[in-house]
C-alpha cells in the first residue's frame, strides 16, 4: 500500500508541473531604459496588450501584430535611435500595426531625442471622410453666420465671452435667443465648470448664467439648440451645466466599462453614466437639438448621446468623430482604474480609461455617432454667412420634424 501511495504522490507532483508559467510583466509607465526599437516595440506591444480598453470590439489581431512585427523590430535592436532613417522606417511599422485600433482618442508617440513621431489612426480615417473639413473651417463659418444673423436681428439676448485658460488655451461661449423663440448655446471646449468654482464671475460664468436664465424663464420657448460642432471635448463635470436643466432627476444616458483584470477581455460591469439634474424652474416640453459634426469629439459626443437619450432630443449635423471614452492623460491616474494611457521616456500611448455605449448597447467608438437628421457641412453656404445645419435645426424646431 505504501508504494501505491508513493506512486500517487509522484503522479500528483508530476501533474502540478502542468500549470503554465506566469509571464514577466513590465509596467510601461516605468521609465525603463529603452535604447532600441526592439525594446520600444516590446514595451508598446505589452502595454497595449494589458491596458487597452477595446480588445472586445477592436478588429486588430494583436497577436498577429506580435508575430509579424516582433521579428522585424528585433532586426533593429542593434541600431539604437540615432539613425533618423531607421527611426522613420520603424515608426512607419508602428503606424501599420496601429492603423486599425478602434479607440477614437488613440495616438502613439515615439520620443527619439529631439525628434518626436506621432500617429493618430482615427485622425487619418476622419481625414478620408467625404466632405472632410477641419474644426477651424467650422468655427470660421459659425462666427461668420452668427455675425450675419446678429446683423439681421435674428439673435437677441446675446451674451458671449472668452477667457484664456491657465494652459494658454481659450474658452469661448455664446448664449442667446434665435428668431425670438429658440435658445441657442455654443462653446468651443468643455472647460465651463472651472469658471463656476469661484464666487467671482467671469466672462464664461456669465454666459453660462445667461444660458441657465433663458432656460428657466425666457417666455414662449419653442426649442433649444446646443451647438457642439467642432468642439474638442474636455471635462466630464461640464455635462450637468450644459444639459442638467432638461432633467428633473439624475438620468442615465450611457454605459461605460473599463479593464478589470489583466486579460484583454477582463472588464468591469457596464456602469450607468448619468446626467445630473441641477434644478430647473420649469419643464421645457420642446425639441432639444444638438448640433454636432465630424470634429465633435469626446465630451461633445457624450453630450450628443445625452441629448439623444432625452425624450425630445434630436441630433442634426454629421456623424461625429468617434472617440467616446474618457481619459486621464497622466501616469499618476493609472491606479484609479488600472488601464489606459501610459507614457515613458521613449513613448506615449494616448488611450482611454473607459469604453462607452449608448442605452441600447451600441458602441460608436472609432465610427462616430450618426445624426438623426444628416445635414453635411456646406462650405459654400458658410462662406455666404448661411449655416445650413443651424437653419435645419431652426426648421426642425418650428415644424417639430
Amino acid at each position: 500500500m505504501k508504494s501505491k501511495i508513493l506512486l500517487i504522490a509522484i503522479i500528483a507532483v508530476m501533474m502540478s508541473g502542468c500549470r503554465k508559467d506566469m509571464p514577466d510583466m513590465q509596467n510601461p509607465r516605468t521609465d525603463v531604459h529603452i535604447t532600441n526599437w526592439y525594446q520600444w516595440f516590446d514595451s508598446y506591444w505589452n502595454g497595449m496588450n494589458y491596458n487597452y480598453n477595446f480588445w472586445d470590439i477592436d478588429p486588430t489581431d494583436w497577436d498577429e501584430v506580435y508575430r509579424t512585427y516582433g521579428p522585424r523590430f528585433e532586426e533593429l535592436k542593434d541600431k539604437g535611435f540615432d539613425d533618423k532613417e531607421v527611426n522613420e522606417a520603424a515608426f512607419d511599422m508602428v503606424k501599420e500595426m496601429s492603423a486599425s485600433l478602434v479607440d477614437g482618442h488613440f495616438a502613439v508617440m515615439a520620443y527619439m531625442g529631439e525628434d518626436t513621431y506621432a500617429f493618430s489612426p482615427i485622425t487619418a480615417q476622419v481625414e478620408k471622410r467625404d466632405n472632410y473639413h477641419t474644426s477651424e473651417d467650422t468655427w470660421k463659418g459659425k462666427v461668420q453666420s452668427i455675425e450675419k444673423m446678429d446683423e439681421e436681428g435674428r439673435f437677441t439676448e446675446v451674451l458671449k465671452g472668452s477667457v484664456t485658460e491657465a494652459d494658454g488655451g481659450n474658452t469661448t461661449a455664446l448664449a442667446g435667443v434665435l428668431d425670438g423663440d429658440i435658445i441657442y448655446f455654443t462653446f468651443n471646449q468643455f472647460m465651463l465648470y472651472v469658471h463656476t468654482l469661484s464666487d467671482e464671475e467671469d466672462a464664461i460664468s456669465l454666459v453660462l448664467k445667461q444660458y441657465h436664465d433663458l432656460l428657466d424663464s425666457y417666455p414662449d420657448v419653442k426649442g433649444v439648440i446646443v451647438d457642439v460642432r467642432s468642439n474638442g471635448g474636455g471635462a466630464l463635470l461640464d455635462l450637468p451645466l450644459v444639459l442638467g436643466k432638461f432633467v428633473k432627476e439624475d438620468h442615465t444616458f450611457c454605459y461605460q466599462h473599463y479593464k478589470k483584470g489583466i486579460g484583454r477581455l477582463d472588464f468591469s460591469p457596464w456602469i450607468p453614466g448619468k446626467l445630473e439634474a441641477i434644478g430647473s424652474m420649469r419643464t421645457l416640453d420642446v425639441p432639444i437639438v444638438v448640433l454636432a459634426d465630424m470634429q465633435s469629439v469626446s465630451m461633445a459626443e457624450m453630450t450628443t448621446l445625452a441629448v439623444l437619450s432625452l425624450p425630445n432630443g434630436v441630433f442634426i449635423g454629421e456623424r461625429t468623430f468617434g472617440g467616446n471614452g474618457t481619459l486621464s492623460a497622466n501616469n499618476d491616474c493609472f491606479e484609479e482604474r488600472y488601464d489606459g494611457y501610459f507614457k515613458n521616456n521613449a513613448m506615449m500611448a494616448y488611450t482611454t480609461n473607459t469604453a462607452m455605449t449608448d442605452l441600447a448597447g451600441n458602441s460608436y467608438e472609432g465610427v462616430g455617432v450618426p445624426p438623426t437628421i444628416e445635414v453635411p457641412y456646406n462650405a459654400e453656404q458658410f462662406a455666404l454667412g448661411v449655416d445650413t445645419q443651424l437653419e435645419r435645426a431652426v426648421s426642425y424646431i418650428h415644424a417639430w420634424k
Binding site: 503522479i11 506566469m22 510583466m25 489583466i262 486579460g263
Partner: protein, 240 residues
C-alpha cells in the same frame, strides 16, 4: 494537456487493476459542505488589486466500489462553488468584487481506508474533470463619471458615490475555458453506523490544472483554481 491527463489517468487505474476483489461492494450516498477557493495567478504591476479567497458551497453524490475493506474506487457528481474576491487596498480599498463560480465536477479517485472495524481513517486521491456552469459577481466600483468635490479624502468612497452591482456574468467564448481538469486529494474519517450505513467527514483539496481562460492572447496571465472542501456525508451499501 488532455493527452497527458489521459495517460496519467490510465496509469492511475492500472495501478489498482490487480487489487483483489475479496469483499466487493457498491456504496452510494450524499455529501455536502463548505468550499474555500483561491486563485493562483499574478497581479503583475496592477499592484494593489489582489485576488483573495472566498467561501462557497459543495454538494455531491459519491459512488464507491469497494474491492477490499481498505481499498475502493470512487466517483462523484459534485456541485462545487469556486469563488474568489478581487480587492483593492489603500485609498481604493472600498472597491471590491466577489465572484461566485459554479462548477459541476466529476472526481474519480482511489479510496484507501485504515483503522478499526467501525471508525476508520481514509485517504482519497484522484483526478477530476468538470464544467464551469455559471458565474455571478457583486461588488462596488467607481462610477462612470466620478464627481469629486473639494477636500482631502482618506478613501475613494468619501470623494464620490460608488457604483454597486450584483449581476450574472455572461461567458465570453473567446476567453472563458469552461472545462476544468485537475487532481484531488482528500483525508477524513468514516464511521460505520450500521452494517449498511456509513457516515464520514472529509477535508479535500482540488488542484486545477486548467487555466480558467482559453489560450486567447500572447503573454496571457493564467488563472487556476485551488479549492479546499470540508464536507460531511453518508454512504449506503447498496449491493455486492
Amino acid at each position: 494537456m488532455f493527452t497527458a491527463m489521459k495517460k496519467y489517468l490510465l496509469f492511475f487505474v492500472l495501478i489498482f487493476v490487480g487489487a483483489e476483489s475479496l469483499s466487493a461492494q457498491w456504496k452510494v450516498g450524499v455529501q455536502s459542505g463548505y468550499s474555500l477557493n483561491s486563485i493562483s495567478t499574478t497581479v503583475g504591476y496592477f499592484y494593489d488589486r489582489k485576488y483573495e479567497s472566498a467561501a462557497g458551497l459543495t454538494v455531491g453524490v459519491p459512488v464507491q466500489y469497494g474491492f477490499t475493506d481498505w481499498f475502493a474506487l470512487g466517483a462523484e457528481l459534485s456541485y462545487v462553488q469556486k469563488n474568489y474576491c478581487l480587492q483593492r487596498s489603500g485609498y481604493y480599498s472600498a472597491l471590491h468584487e466577489t465572484v461566485t463560480n459554479e462548477y459541476l465536477s466529476v472526481p474519480l479517485y482511489a479510496h484507501f481506508s485504515f483503522g478499526g472495524k467501525k471508525l476508520r481513517g481514509f485517504l482519497n486521491a484522484g483526478v477530476y474533470g468538470g464544467a464551469w456552469l455559471a458565474s455571478h459577481r457583486e461588488g462596488v466600483e467607481l462610477p462612470a463619471f466620478p464627481t469629486p468635490g473639494p477636500g482631502n479624502y482618506q478613501g475613494v468612497e468619501e470623494s464620490t458615490d460608488l457604483y454597486g452591482y450584483d449581476e450574472d456574468v455572461d461567458f465570453d467564448d473567446r476567453r472563458d475555458n469552461r472545462i476544468e481538469c485537475g487532481t484531488m486529494l482528500g483525508v477524513g474519517l468514516q464511521y460505520q453506523v450500521l452494517p449498511f450505513m456509513q457516515i464520514f467527514a472529509e477535508g479535500r483539496y482540488y488542484y486545477s490544472l486548467t487555466d480558467m481562460q482559453k489560450d486567447y492572447m500572447i503573454n496571457q496571465v493564467p488563472r487556476y483554481n485551488n479549492t479546499i472542501g470540508l464536507q460531511v456525508g453518508i454512504l449506503f451499501t447498496v449491493g455486492k
